[in-house]
């Protein structure tokens, strides 16, 4: 229970009223900060805040919509994403996030299409095999990858145009929001195997992302992905 020691709270004081003032915007800065801390820590206070927010939100109908000036959105985007001239190469991580948002359903459909039932929960075996169907991202490259934990290797079939003179496709392992880890360059065609370093093997589990970028020949010299994202997929246990 938080202590409320506020000036002017005669009549015994009632924290529901203090919270109402907070939602209205009448609290002084110290009280405002105290309530924001309390809201995060105390579910009763959080519930009271939500109660007042819902009740007072009925007044929102009083706000008349007014069309903002037409340049406003570009200014907002410039602040958030940088201006057009700096943006010729979109950050490939942005592409990955958009791909993740947009292709959840498409990926499930692709896996069902190749005979895997992704709706069945993965059996609780230790170290299952993982299959990843990497879908093209603004490209024509699809990659099917099977990870065999016993052998510690990734078997790949990459379908699509070759990377071209002076370029290579590079494969990356991405766990959650961590920095992508290079698994080396890969050719198009079937039957390519990538031996996975034993330090990386524990990272291979359902839900990780495998992605391919187009880099200079030999792969990115910096160890970090520089080129555009061309294919990506999420690993599913089978």
């Amino acid at each position: 229970m938080s202590e409320w020691n506020l000036p002017g709270m005669e009549d015994g004081g009632d924290r529901r009223v203090v919270i109402a003032e907070y939602v209205l915007g009448l609290s002084d800065p110290a009280d405002r900060a105290a309530i924001e801390r309390a809201r995060a820590a105390d579910p009763e206070i959080a519930a009271e805040v939500r109660f007042w927010e819902e009740q007072l939100a009925q007044f929102n109908t009083a706000y008349q919509p007014v069309t903002p000036p037409s340049g406003a959105l570009s200014k907002i985007e410039a602040r958030l994403f940088g201006t057009q001239t700096r943006e010729r190469k979109p950050r490939w991580y942005d592409s990955l996030l958009v791909w993740r948002a947009a292709t959840g359903v498409a990926l499930a459909a692709a896996l069902v299409g190749i005979g895997l039932n992704v709706l069945a929960p993965a059996p609780p075996e230790p170290r299952p095999e993982l299959v990843t169907a990497m879908q093209p991202v603004e490209s024509d490259l699809s990659v099917l990858a099977l990870y065999e934990p016993g052998a510690g290797q990734l078997r790949l079939t990459a379908e699509g145009p070759p990377a071209g003179e002076g370029s290579d496709y590079e494969l990356w392992l991405i766990v959650g929001e961590d920095t992508p880890i290079s698994l080396g360059t890969i050719p198009t065609g079937a039957g390519h195997s990538v031996v996975v370093d034993e330090n990386l093997q524990p990272l291979f589990e359902q839900g990780i992302t495998l992605a391919v970028t187009l880099e200079q020949a030999g792969g990115s010299p910096t160890g970090a992905a520089q080129g555009p994202l061309v294919s990506a997929g999420t690993a599913k246990a089978i």
Binding site: A20, L24, T67
Partner: protein, 192 residues
């Protein structure tokens, strides 16, 4: 009396569902979803900023800050936080009030009368909110001495205690107690 379809409590307005989806995709850094969200909601949020700030140039600057906050906080929105529009308006309102509080006092003309009539609600909104609105309005009606109007204008206009004191001709050293008594009465009524 117009035909009113009684909707079950769990039905969600299609527009609200779409806005919630756009917020969810914005949380995943989906820029085209963010643009759609802006297209659907910016007129309302600009209206909020304009009402509270009273100055078009300031409201335009505030609108940018508001959408930057929306981009940054989109991942925090959850269904149990009320309707997505309520959440967005809260961001806009709180930001505009922060700006007003940082200004010199008494820079707003608080004697301006705004059009009190609310813009038309959609039939869905009317049906969904009817019993809630009735409860709030009934309770507000029980408050004496203009306190209901004070609660509403504190919310809608973002008035400070100083401004409420001037607007409702209450001495500054008693306006807090005056309003707090009204809020307590309102709260107890809403519980019944």
């Amino acid at each position: 009396m117009p035909y009113a379809t009684r909707r079950p409590e769990v039905h969600l307005d299609e527009n609200q569902i779409e806005v919630a989806n756009l917020i969810g995709r914005t949380a995943l850094a989906d820029r085209s979803a963010f643009r759609d969200l802006y297209a659907r909601t910016s007129a309302k949020l600009f209206g909020v900023a304009l009402r509270i700030l009273g100055d078009r140039g300031e409201a335009e600057d505030a609108l940018q800050d508001i959408y930057v906050k929306i981009w940054q906080r989109a991942g925090q929105y959850r269904d149990d936080m009320g309707s997505p529009m309520t959440w967005l308006i809260a961001i806009a309102r709180n930001h505009a009030i922060d700006i007003v509080r940082r200004r010199k006092p008494d820079t707003r003309d608080i004697d301006e009368t705004h059009d009190i009539a609310d813009p038309q609600m959609t039939p869905e909104q009317s049906a969904l909110n009817a019993s809630e609105r009735a409860r709030l309005n009934d309770c507000l009606d029980t408050l004496p001495d203009g306190r209901a109007e004070a609660v509403k204008s504190a919310y809608v206009e973002g008035y400070s205690y100083q401004e409420l004191a001037t607007r409702f001709a209450i001495p500054l050293n008693t306006v807090r107690t005056w309003l707090r008594r009204g809020l307590l009465q309102l709260r107890e009524c809403l519980d019944t």
